[in-house]
Symmetry: C2
Subunit: 452 residues, 2 copies
């Protein structure tokens, strides 16, 4: 069999899959933080174009991908599905390992799958400028790229610690024409408030979201865009799994286990939801595992609670597995996974035990990434290494049990902009810090919102 299973542009899916249609328990609605009542479209209208708000609450099973979006997708899609022969050999495992490689996009990750349609719908509704946040920089890069293609201004609030550690990321965004600010900044009330309390704040995704939301809320010509967590974002990513399903069929195979790293949920949802559909529709029992960092373990050690999406408390309350919106993860290098909460859909699926979660310390993750680079060639993004750690655990278990099984993994991006993290690992400077139950309980105790 060929190493890569390729689809032609004609075989690219024409619809996104909306898992809400098939969920036995639908996700709970977001609530207004003041009234504690479900919010209507008008609450979100200052932040998002109407078409995305409709998608956010849609229960339609399939949503058309607009032709103009599909045209831009072909700049890198369909992406290849690889059989990881070299990795299998190195692990001496009977397991078959496949990976979907999303790093072929110009931005180097899966994020443009939603950045492009988000920019498109904003353009359709006459939006001139989009503000957003970025952690490790993957999302900011993707949105900068998408906005440039549609002639929309893009303003990115980048978590300060990443802004300083990853100058190349900022320059890529500039190359695509975006303005980038280190967050917390003096440009917003939210930023000023944080800085007045802690002038040396390294920033966090939650803070950067507060800043970007404020910018959009205060300017009628500006909207806001989020790179994960929300329903429509997760749905746009399902093109990954829809392609992968076609490719697995071409390979004459079907995964027993689907694995993806977990930050806010878009990466995991993208590859796993189209396979969960087979569980719902055809009674299959494909296991879907979300891999999260032990330093930010909302799925494995958080609580299911209504909580804010940001730090300052500007967003609606979302039903989520959370560590508390004030949780500040230790500055591990997998910046994209440093978020306190999970999206509403994924949280409901986990609560209903329809998906699984697993956490890994970062040394195990980088060990997995190094083995991958030295066998398959691609240097994975640190985020992706979390999923790889789960893959390797499962492959080793298959060997111990002498069972074959088929594993599908979402290699969501390359690590070209994250080499400082590999340097830290190679030089023995990475430290695994155990989060104590005390720390987690304290952070969760700060959530004074509704129990679910």
């Amino acid at each position: 069999m060929e190493r890569k299973i390729i689809l032609s542009e004609k075989e690219m899916p024409e619809y996104w899959y909306n898992i809400v249609a098939d969920m036995p328990n639908k996700p709970l609605p977001p609530l207004h933080p003041g009234t504690k009542q479900p919010i209507g479209p008008e609450t979100l209208a200052p932040l998002f174009p109407m078409e995305l708000i409709k998608q956010e609450v849609s229960t339609e099973k399939w949503i058309d991908i607009p032709e103009e979006v599909r045209d831009i997708y072909t700049l890198w899609r369909p992406t290849p599905l690889y059989r990881a022969y070299n990795l299998e050999k190195a692990l001496d495992t009977p397991a078959k390992i496949y990976y979907k490689y999303e790093g072929v996009s110009p931005a180097g990750s899966h994020k443009p799958n939603t950045a492009v349609p988000q920019a498109y719908y904003n353009k359709q509704e006459g939006v001139k400028k989009i503000s957003t946040e970025t952690g490790a920089g993957q999302w900011g890069t993707a949105l900068s790229f998408a906005c440039q293609l549609f002639g929309i201004e893009c303003e990115v609030y980048m978590v300060k610690v990443s802004y300083n550690q990853k100058p190349y990321r900022r320059i890529v965004m500039n190359t695509y024409g975006a303005k980038v600010h280190a967050s917390p900044s003096e440009l917003t009330q939210a930023g000023k408030q944080i800085l007045s309390q802690n002038p040396d704040s390294p920033g966090s995704l939650g803070i950067a979201i507060s800043e970007a939301v404020e910018v959009a809320a205060n300017d009628p010509g500006t909207k806001y865009a989020l790179g994960s967590v929300l329903n429509h974002v997760l749905m746009h990513q399902t093109i990954i799994g829809l392609e992968a399903l076609k490719q697995m069929e071409k390979a004459g195979d079907l995964p027993d286990i689907v694995i993806a790293p977990f930050g806010g949920g878009s990466n995991f949802a993208g590859i796993s939801f189209p396979f969960l559909r087979l569980n719902f529709e055809e009674g299959k029992s494909i296991r879907c595992i979300a891999s999260e960092p032990a330093s930010c373990p909302k799925l494995t050690r958080g609580v299911f609670r209504y909580d804010f999406g940001d730090t300052v408390g500007m967003t609606p309350l979302i039903p989520m597995y959370t560590l508390g919106h004030n949780f500040v993860p230790s500055p591990i290098h997998a910046g994209g996974l440093r978020y306190h909460g999970a999206g509403a859909i994924v949280s409901q699926l986990l609560k209903d035990q329809l998906i699984e979660a697993r956490s890994h310390f970062q040394k195990e993750c980088f060990e997995a990434g190094l083995l991958f680079a030295r066998t398959e060639g691609i240097v994975p993004a640190p985020e992706a290494n979390h999923g790889l750690a789960t893959v390797i655990q499962e492959a080793k278990q298959a060997k111990e049990e002498g069972k074959t099984k088929t594993i599908l993994f979402n290699l969501c991006g390359h690590g070209n902009f994250d080499m400082a993290a590999y340097e830290a690992y190679l030089s023995g400077k990475l430290v695994d810090e155990e989060l104590t139950s005390d720390q987690i309980e304290k952070s969760i105790a700060q959530i004074d919102h509704l129990q679910v």
Copy 2:
């Protein structure tokens, strides 16, 4: 028509094309620097495995690609051929622009096309370690990757200015398991000699070659590998053009002009030689243009002369267009093109007016690269931007003349590790320095070798 023209792994070429078989005037032989007589295989045997030496002097038209090499090639090959619809639209040109994208390789450039077979032949002959040089880092990354796959030790002498400017490049090589030294180093006689004359030497490709060659010459278990210039290296790269030819045929098209950046010749040879074959065999008149930096203009302002491949004078004398082996290019950012000479085959082709050359100042190159990134999405390597500058000139000329023409361009790699150069351009810090005729004459006057 689809935006990307894709080949299956089954359609990947099984032979490299050796242009020497078809050249009306064969390249002149390399000479021993002492005797000035053509060298035999025994002179090269301490540096290269015998199979590569045979390829270096072969006049066979087609050389088999070993199955094990083809298997590794499928980690990224066949590479996509793109129709640059977005760039065409931005230029409002009647020209059709295609680009072959080699940046999908794990190393991010075309260099693994030769690194893999070189590592393979060394492994076949029991070699334990390979030494090499690298400028911008593309070649060192590719060889590190290839050596890791074959379990060969790899030692890279990296031009000091790049070593300091591009720490991520060094870390990638470490990630693939290679040892990397800043050159000039204290580890070799050549390095010590340079440092004793100039302790602050920023290094050059010529110096790094001297160091790597010395390491191999002094250790029977170590061989040397070169990433460009030599005949066998250029031949390995022809898989690019052989694939592109199949892809152009699928698109129902044939280029009028083939364009590639030029450093030592491997990139240019890779895409253009299979099209020059059509000129030789079928009487076609496809123009092939090599794009070089105005700061290192060996093809457009150098002389055709026997000269050393390195600075210290350890290599055989090679018949080449050269600026003199002591030429130190100004520290422009397109590090991979900072080499004083051109390979023997390309030099002969240029002398016989079978190919063309053009030079560009770097601001024009980065302007081209920025336009490309903002339309096609991929941020090109600075080397690639030189070719893009020529593409844009030709596309604009087509518009002025109201003529359609078909342009094929080798996008040899991405710029993910070169963002500092984009930063310099975006912030207005790039300067174009005109080389005076005096400077070039002085450098050439230092060549005391045979006229051709």
